[in-house]
Amino acid sequence: MSTRFDVELIAVTKRYGPTVAVDNIDLRIPEQSYCCLLGPSGCGKTTTLRMIAGHESVSDGDVLITDQNVTNLPPAKRGTAMMFQNYALFPHLNCVDNVAFGLKMRGVGKAPRQAQAHEFLGLTQMTAFADRLPSQLSGGQQQRVALARALITKPKVLLLDEPLSALDPFLRGRMREELKRLQSELGITFIHVTHSQEEAMALADLVVVMEGGRIQQADDPRHVFDRPKTAFVARFLGGHNLVPRDGGTELAVRTDRCRLFAIDETVEPSLSGAVSAIEYQGTRVQVTLDTDLGVRVVSHLPDEEFYVHPFHIGDRARLGWSHADAHPVIAN
């Protein structure tokens, strides 16, 4: 068990005039981990990333990187490197010069910096495009160059702002694998901002779900999905039914753990209602039930199970689950 942390945020707050973008958050990211900041737009995830990078000042609190307080240090003195959402490759420089830029600013001579730049282009499989201008590259290729450019400064922490959102779905999947491979090969911490829960689940060792400038939950993906702390987390991740309870809490139950029964069966716990939608989704069938309580719930059934006793739209039915699969969450 590692006790060192690559990044620590202590009571970090960001205010823009009267509005609070990030509200007093604490976060500890263990060394060599892949951390995803996940949340809807405006939740404060990008602001948090930019405060770690030093591109945004911290209104209150401290940012520590490998135990050093960097709150007031400029970006280049923090041991971080950032990959920007639009990659921000310098349009007038070719790939080698883009990648070598950080070394040039540090006064490294032309021959050694170009040699190193080629080495890092190799790391992201872009050697063949070394002499191209950014405008002559596809989105995925630009991203590889941007990665090489960020990594050449040998950061302890790599910060990625929505790195996959500009790519088409096929490329996104490939780059996802590649980011994970790079992170484990280099043995450094990646902090990756995304609004895609699928991306966060696939990549992260630590998922940080944010909403309204606060951290809703920070845990490994399986814990976050299996034991969402709040109704927001359950809703945002999807795949959960939320059943109202007394006392300011709701029950979260995974939709794939819910089963459909005939209306006259005695099942406990269960909700009764009418089937309002049926969608065949290949490996599973999604059945939506408008319950008598007024909430809408969903069951994801294995396709072969559904077609043994198929339901039809308008049928009365009962959605049941086992107590072990239901978890109380804070309603919000």
């Binding site: 990078a53 490197a81 920007f84 310098f90 070719n94 830029f101 540090r106 400064t153």
Partner: protein
């Protein structure tokens, strides 16, 4: 689509455009043609033979006033105005990327001189120099008068340039360890270089053919437009046309070489990239 019938509106607008082009280039072409008038020809058609006589005549000072001197002054003044406009507009454009106290009044103050009639600017500066006991001169008062025209334009162009400039380029440079000066030198300036060239060209041409603001501020020695104007009142030979043709040709050379410079830069970048 291509075989769809053209409407009456199309022909109307096309005719209008034709007239516009005629108005734009007709006089220039007429003057160009007449400047090759024969030695015995007059200021109007018909052509009485053709020759380069009037071009040769142009370079005899006693005939046409101080053509060479005024061209030299206009070129120098144009270069001074150009350099000042580029440097000051760039600095002002950079300053206006952040809000600062009094930025809006300062902006209005800067662009107000665009709406003041230029002859009044000229008159005012001339008077001010006179009152202060200073001599007006093309390199002093006229230089200042022309800047009241080119600086606001340059500033407006820089606004447009920086409104399209993505600040993440600078953040990326900063992230990679560049100092503010290095960021300007290695990232911002190369990216906006074509626009700066545009501002330079603009500053030069505005100065080179500026008349009203220079009229009462140039002092003893005329700039080229003032000299040409003086000639129109006392010269009645086609040498005037020769002068027009030559200066127009010179303007085309300046603009052409700027376009060539941009093309060469682009090609060199592309070649380095290939």
């Amino acid at each position: 689509m291509s075989d769809r019938k053209r409407t009456a509106g199309f022909y109307l607008l096309a005719g209008f455009f034709g007239l516009y082009v005629l108005f734009l280039y007709g006089p220039t072409i007429t003057i160009a043609v007449l400047s090759f008038q024969g030695p015995n020809g007059g200021l109007t058609f018909p052509m009485n033979g053709h020759s380069l006589h009037w071009f040769a005549n142009l370079f005899q000072p006693q005939m046409v006033g101080d053509f060479g001197g005024s061209l030299e002054r206009s070129l120098l003044l144009g270069a001074m105005v150009m350099a000042t406009t580029v440097v000051v507009s760039l600095a002002a454009g950079l300053a206006y990327r952040k809000r600062f106290k009094g930025d809006t009044p300062l902006f209005y103050l800067a662009v107000a001189s665009l709406v003041v009639p230029s002859i009044l600017v000229s008159l005012g500066i001339g008077l001010m120099f006179g009152q202060s006991g200073l001599d007006t001169a093309w390199y002093g008062s006229a230089y200042g008068a022309q800047l009241t025209w080119t600086l606001p334009f340059g500033l407006l162009i820089m606004f447009a340039v920086f409104s399209r400039f993505n600040p993440s380029y600078e953040e990326a440079a900063r992230d990679l360890g560049a100092s503010p000066w290095q960021t300007l030198r290695h990232v911002v300036l190369p990216i906006i270089a074509p626009s700066l060239l545009g501002v330079a060209l603009f500053g030069f041409t505005l100065s080179y053919d500026e008349f009203a603001r220079t009229l009462l501020t140039a002092g003893e020695d005329n700039t080229l437009p003032l000299e040409i104007y003086a000639m129109t009142t006392n010269i009645t030979t086609p040498v005037l046309y020769a002068l027009g043709t030559l200066t127009t040709a010179f303007s085309f050379v300046v603009i052409g070489s700027c376009i060539a410079a941009v093309l060469i830069i682009q090609r060199r970048r592309a070649r380095r990239a290939a």
